[in-house]
Every structure is written in structure tokens, then in C-alpha cells.
Symmetry: C2
Subunit: 460 residues, 2 copies
């Protein structure tokens, strides 16, 4: 401001209004060029917000943004509020222009997203992506390419929609030791489980309703089989534990086999069933290993995650110094995801304006991921057994032989005409491998007609 | 890695382990020098964590940190696990050394903290502080000094302890329009109100218990009169609305006048009483103004903030695109606050290593703060009135004359021997100024013996 005060306007000159007035660098007129790849639910919201709030973006970044092109699969589709001259089906040419500063990828899936991002980086653009599947599969390639090109790769929108969770893990908690991350990170399955719990709907009907409402896709595999949540768990585990974790390293069980009887069992225990993404560090210091898993689990009704309903997401983070933190908000949808994308865009644009980069990947700890067999949790088992003397003893003996300690064992249904009884067993924490061996042995016992369900119990 | 492969060790050379292996810049040996100002509950935890996790800090920053001195008021006090050679009572000399890269201020209060921070910046150090009172009073001076010196000023620990809230507001949501922030940001008052609600304890006894347990200070004014929460509200409002808001601009009411009868009234309504910090934007675009206030309020028992107990904090953020987000965690304490301080320290150290700075202050919107009189909320009033015909009509008339619309009006206690009745009135949303005028008029009504309490109702 000293120079302004000495300008020809004299010492009483009124300071320039706007950003310059609070000591920040005045906006350079040269805009930063932005290319948008994909214009579906998220992309069209991003494009509209870039136009609607252009002045705010300029003030917050210190330079204007200019949307120079939108790569789409099909030309000629009208998007209200978006200049149709921006659309191009030659997305490859868009990322090869060489004058693009910032690329936003909201196409999803592995290809062509991966090639486009790599090409964009080679041509000097920083990238903001919402693509969890790609990051979980090929994060290593992308981060290396960003490093080699000296550009940023940001991805807040890839996990838990609008909820700020990447930046808190990558930056806010970077002076602490995170020990566990546990969350509901898939809204589709959460909606289905909610329906099953609240209205007693069966899985198939709940899925059909989710599809009718647009919460589930025609092919729901990625959601209901846990692939989407596993990709997010891989990203969270990698960030939390300064290691590389790929989607395929995450143990994954979906919700397609959850029955009304499982839900009823959970209710009888004062629990709800949720699809959880869990990342934990086991052991201390250099010996510590990671477990990352996605599976349905029973959690107590008074657990904070139990009340996370519908399409909402929530993530718990536990660390040595900070203790227990929770982050909650809309987990998907055009506007919330666009909010996360644009938060990253401003950060990356600020970095570019200052000729610098964000923190990048941190994988120095290189902790291995251990197998699901080593994971220790509690289990809830439901068994159909003979209703006669000695059966309970045989079953208890089977658990003891496999070193699975039983917390409660109770008969929940009166025997039918056929002399059957239903037993519910809740174990103390046990190794997954031990429990699996125990379940196989139970299946062999003549007194056991069927092992109806086995589900983990978390959050006790 | 190409160069390594061509090194004399031959093409089969094993890649170098550690950070260099994932393509990051190998750590420069020259450490970044850190000075710590204050060694109380937070400071001693920071000092210990810096030593205990030194290798992790080096890997995460890319350069080692070296704690070069700890400024304390009294020498000779032993702090377990901290090298006593680091202590100095000449804190001024510590920040004048000129070779210090990073200064952590956890002294608290206005002076000497302010002068020490300004001196440290003038001598080229970036600063991390947990000092909400100072930021709320003299933030402008500090941010200008940081800008002039080209250094960073980070302050995640100043609001809501370990909960990442500053970075989400300053960075994650910077592409969105935040419309409201509402939170429980003072653990001491939350503990006291919890006691009053849960155990029916009176204010004085609940305060004494908080003091005995170390949750409240001997002089509890800053907490119970809402000064601490008001400073935090000022910081949150400034960040959320890209404006400057000072602590004195925040309307402030403490909890010292909350009675058992207020708590009972809240319970009767299915509510709890919480001390809330609220920052809202009223109006649209360039015309929008800010209101920032701290006061006790009744909120419904099923509101997520209602179950935030004891020394925990929680902050709700509402924005146009992201919707409703919540952040929850420990609001104070040595370790949680140290976690936030050290997250900032790593970020600031990374910036310094890359010769860059973080986003700095964003106050371009320069929105004015409007007075409490303009704020629109619901109110709960408790009145002692004559128990005779015509009284209800007179009271209803008084509300109508002041344009305060009544939602419910009910008699809660049977009349005593003296012909008195107690009335509870809950209003529809009304302007604070209108309500205040109405309360003055009610006080003048011959039929009204006393206005027992007036409390805002939020979160309906």
C-alpha cells in the first residue's frame, strides 16, 4: 500500500476497493483457463456455479477463471444455463491444448478418465477429480505423473461428497497419529438398509425403491457389492496411514445377502445394520500394519453412526492426540459434490497463481495391509439347531476349540414342530480366521441344521 | 528413479527406501528451527509430540524440525520429557533471534502474545497460534503483519480444539457460499449446562463442580459470560463470510443467569439449553449482512447439537451447494489442541520448504455486521401473572401490538394462594428489537408481576 500512497493521486488517495484493500495481491487480469471433463449431474452443477459466482472466484483466487471447454460424450444435449459453444466431443484435444491451467474430471470410471488426466498433466494442467474408482485403482500412476509434471492432483469430492474429509486427513491431522477411520461412505446402501430397518422391507424391494427414486443405478453392483465403499476405504486408509492402499487390498462384502432376519436380529440386540468402511492401524511404530475393510456390521442404536440416515455420510476419525472426531454431511448429489470440486479448484488455482503446489502424496510409512484373517472383531451368529439336550454343550465346545470366546448364547425362537430351535451367539473379539474356521466346523456338526447368518458387530 | 537405475550400482540397484522412493524430494538436511512460546497444558504436549514423533515430522515435511527454545514465564519449573536446556524466560530474545523459521504461540491473552507474534513475523518467522482472544481483537493487525512479512499465520487450534473447522471453512468450502455456522464452541459452559440439565444442579453448584474438576478456571468470566465463544464466533464469521468480524461486534450473552426454572421450561418443551455461537448471512449478494451472536438457547432434544455433551464441541455449517455439514470432537484439552497446532505446524513448514505461503486472510466481501435488534429468532418467555379473567387477552394484545406473533401460550403452574399464575409463551420468528420492546411493555402491564425469563429458541 505504500506505493499506492505515494502515487500521483497524493497521500490522501482512497485505497483501491476489493482484494487489494486488505493487502492481498491485486488480481492479475490474465485468467486461469479451466477445462471440464464430463457434464452430468456434478459437471453441469460445477459449470453453472463457475458462471454464477465468477466474481467471488476471482476475489478468492486473485485471478479470474475462464471455462474454455467442456468435454462430453454426446454433442447436442442442451444443458440449461451452460453456454453450448463450450461443449466438445473431442475431449482428448481439450486436454492437449497446452494452455489449460486446471482440469476438472467428473467423468468417472477408469477409462478414458485415466488417460485424459495423464495427458492433461503432461500438458501442464493441475487436476481436480471426484473419481474414487480411478484413485483406488491407479492412484500411484496419477500421483507420480502429478509429481513428474509439477502439478497438483486434488480429490476432496472422491470420498463422502461434500464432507471435508480428505483435507482434514491430509493436512489438519498431519501432526497427529491417526489410528482408525470408520464411516458410512455409500449413500445408496445406507438408503436400502434404512428402508429394511425402518419399514421391514426385504432387500430386493428396498433396492427397487432406491432405483425408482434415483438413489441406485440400473446396475447397482458398484454400490451394493461394496466396490464404491472399498475404493473410498482405500483412499482414506492411504491418507490416514501415509501408505499406499489399493482398492483390491480392501476386504469387501456387500449387502446383497442381508435378510429381514438379520435386521430383526440386529433390532433384538438394540443394533442397526450399516455398511461400514473401516481402516485401522494394528501394532505400534514401524511394526504397525493396516487393515481396510468394507462389510455390513451391527452397531448399537445409540452409536452416532446409527442415526446417519438415507443418503447422508459420516466418517469417524480416531487419533492419538485429537481423540475422536466425526464429520457428517450429504454424501453425494450434484450440488454437494460440486461444492467439494470447487473448493479444490480454488485451492489449486491459488497454488498455480503462487507458482506452488499442495502437499502431494505422503506414502513414506509404506505400511503393509494385512489380510482379513488377522482382523479382530466381535461376531453375531444365527444358527438353526436341533432342539434337544446336549446341543448347547456341543456348540459351546466348538467355539472353545476354535478359541472364539462366547459372550452370549440364547435361544430366540421356540422350537417348531420339527424339533428345531434358533440360537443367537454373540462372541467376544476374535480373529476373523478363527471365526471362519469355527463357522466351518459348526456347519459340520450334526446338531447344526444351518448357519443362518454371520455378521460382525462394531462400535460396542 | 531413472537416474538411480543408471547409477554405478547398475540397473538392478534397489531403490532408496523412505520418502525418496515415492518420488518426493529427499529431505534437505538443514532443519527448520521452531520456537515455542508458552509451556502450559498445550505447550508441553506440543513439545513432547515434536520430540516423540520427530521422524514422522521429518518425513511429512521433507525437512527435520528443530525445537530451539521454549519461552516461559518462570524458569526452573520441571516439565517431564522436555529438555530443560530449552527453557528461557527471555521470550523476546527468542523471537528476535532471526534464525527461527516457525513460532508456535500458546501463551494466550492479548499481551505479551501480540507483541511477540508481531516481532516474530518481522524477523521472518511463520506463526501458528491457538489464541482466539487475540485473533478476535487484533486479527487485522496480525494478518497485515503476516502479509507484509511474507509469512504464514495459521490458527486451527483457536476454534473448537482438535476439530478441523478453520481449514474446511478457509479451503474446503471456499468454492461454495456459506450461509450459516452454528456451534457449541465452549466446553466449560457446555459442561455446566449439562450438569444443570442432567442432575438438576443449580448454576452456582454446577460451576463449582466444573472448577473442582478443572473444567472451569478460578475466574470463569471468559467462559461463563461468553467472551471465549464470542471470540470464536468472530473468527468463524470472518472466515465463513470473507469479511472482518471483531469479537466486540459479536452480540454476547452468558449463562450466569440461567436458572433451574429455565432448564425445567426447556425440558417441558422437549428442549435442552445450550450456549450457541451463531453466525448467519442475511440477504442476498452484495446486500447481504452478517449477524454473529453468542447466547444460551433452547434447542430440541433430537437436534444433533443437543446430544453434544460435556467438554465436546460441535459445529454445524450450512452452505448453498454442500448443504448441512457437521464437525464434532474434543473442544479443548492439551492433546487435542496440540494435534491442531501441529497440523498447522506441518502445513506451515511445508509451505516454507516450498518457499510459498498458505491462502492468507480473505476479507474481500467486507460485509457489515448488523445489530442484534435485526436478528430474527423464536423466543420462549416465562411470565408470572395475575390469575384472573382478561389477563390472557391483555398479554396476547401486547404481543400483537409489537408485531410478535405467538405460537403457543400456556399456563404451566396452578395459581398459588396469592392468585398468581405462570405463563409460558413461545413466539413465531420475530425481530429481536420487536421482542425487546414487547418485553418492556409486558413488564409495564399491571397484570404481569414479573418476566421470569426470555430465551431464544433455535434449531426448530
Amino acid at each position: 500500500m505504500t506505493e499506492t500512497a505515494q502515487s500521483p493521486a497524493g497521500p490522501d488517495a482512497v485505497p483501491v476497493a476489493g482484494p487489494a484493500a486488505d493487502g492481498a495481491t491485486p488480481p492479475t487480469e490474465q485468467p486461469l483457463k479451466v477445462a471440464l471433463l464430463g457434464c452430468g449431474v456434478v459437471g453441469s452443477e460445477v459449470a453453472r456455479m463457475l458462471v454464477d459466482s465468477a466474481d467471488d472466484f476471482t476475489a478468492r483466487i486473485g485471478r479470474p477463471l475462464e471455462l474454455v471447454g467442456i468435454g462430453v460424450r454426446r454433442a447436442g444435449v442442451e444443458r440449461p444455463g451452460i453456454d453450448s459453444a463450450l461443449f466438445t466431443t473431442d475431449t482428448e484435444a481439450l486436454v492437449r491444448r497446452g494452455d489449460v491451467d486446471l482440469v476438472i474430471e467428473v467423468i468417472g470410471g477408469i477409462e478414458p478418465a485415466k488417460s485424459l488426466i495423464l495427458t492433461a498433466m503432461e500438458h501442464g494442467a493441475s487436476v481436480v477429480t471426484a473419481n474414487k474408482a480411478l484413485l483406488a485403482e491407479a492412484g500411484t500412476d496419477l500421483f507420480s505423473a502429478a509429481e513428474a509434471a509439477g502439478v497438483d492432483l486434488y480429490f476432496e469430492a472422491a470420498v463422502a461428497g461434500a464432507i471435508p474429509i480428505i483435507r482434514p486427513l491430509r493436512e489438519s491431522l498431519v501432526g497427529d497419529e491417526i489410528t482408525a477411520v470408520m464411516g458410512i461412505v455409500n449413500g445408496t446402501t445406507n438408503f436400502i438398509l434404512d428402508k429394511m430397518h425402518g419399514q421391514g422391507t426385504g432387500y430386493a424391494d428396498a433396492l427397487a425403491e432406491a432405483q425408482a427414486l434415483g438413489y441406485a443405478e440400473a446396475d447397482p453392483t458398484a454400490d451394493v457389492e461394496g466396490f464404491d465403499a472399498a475404493a473410498k476405504a482405500a483412499i482414506l486408509a492411504g491418507l490416514a496411514f501415509h501408505s499406499r492402499v489399493r482398492g483390491v487390498e480392501v476386504h469387501r462384502e456387500g449387502i446383497t445377502e442381508i435378510t429381514r432376519s438379520d435386521i430383526a436380529s440386529a433390532k433384538a440386540m438394540g443394533c442397526v445394520v450399516k455398511l461400514l468402511a473401516i481402516c485401522e492401524l494394528s501394532g505400534e511404530g514401524a511394526e504397525a500394519t493396516i487393515n481396510a475393510r468394507v462389510h455390513p456390521a451391527m452397531i448399537p442404536e445409540d452409536h452416532p453412526l446409527a442415526s446417519v440416515g438415507g443418503a447422508y455420510n459420516a466418517v469417524f476419525v480416531e487419533s492419538k492426540a485429537a481423540g475422536r472426531l466425526m464429520f457428517y454431511g450429504p454424501g453425494a448429489g450434484g450440488s454437494p459434490t460440486a461444492s467439494a470440486v470447487l473448493g479444490d479448484l480454488v485451492t489449486v488455482a491459488r497454488n498455480r497463481t503462487r507458482h506452488t503446489r499442495g502437499p502431494g502424496e505422503s506414502t513414506y510409512a509404506q505400511r503393509p495391509v494385512h489380510s482379513i484373517g488377522e482382523v479382530v472383531t466381535r461376531y453375531h451368529l444365527s444358527l438353526e439347531v436341533d432342539d434337544r439336550a446336549g446341543v448347547l454343550a456341543a456348540i459351546a465346545q466348538c467355539f472353545a476349540e476354535h478359541e472364539v470366546s462366547v459372550q452370549t448364547l440364547r435361544q430366540v425362537a421356540s422350537p417348531g414342530e420339527d424339533g428345531e430351535a434358533r440360537l443367537v451367539v454373540v462372541t467376544h473379539p476374535a480373529k476373523d480366521a478363527a471365526l471362519a474356521a469355527c463357522v466351518r466346523a459348526l456347519d459340520e456338526l450334526p446338531a447344526v441344521h444351518e448357519v443362518l447368518s454371520v455378521m460382525r458387530v462394531e462400535g460396542l
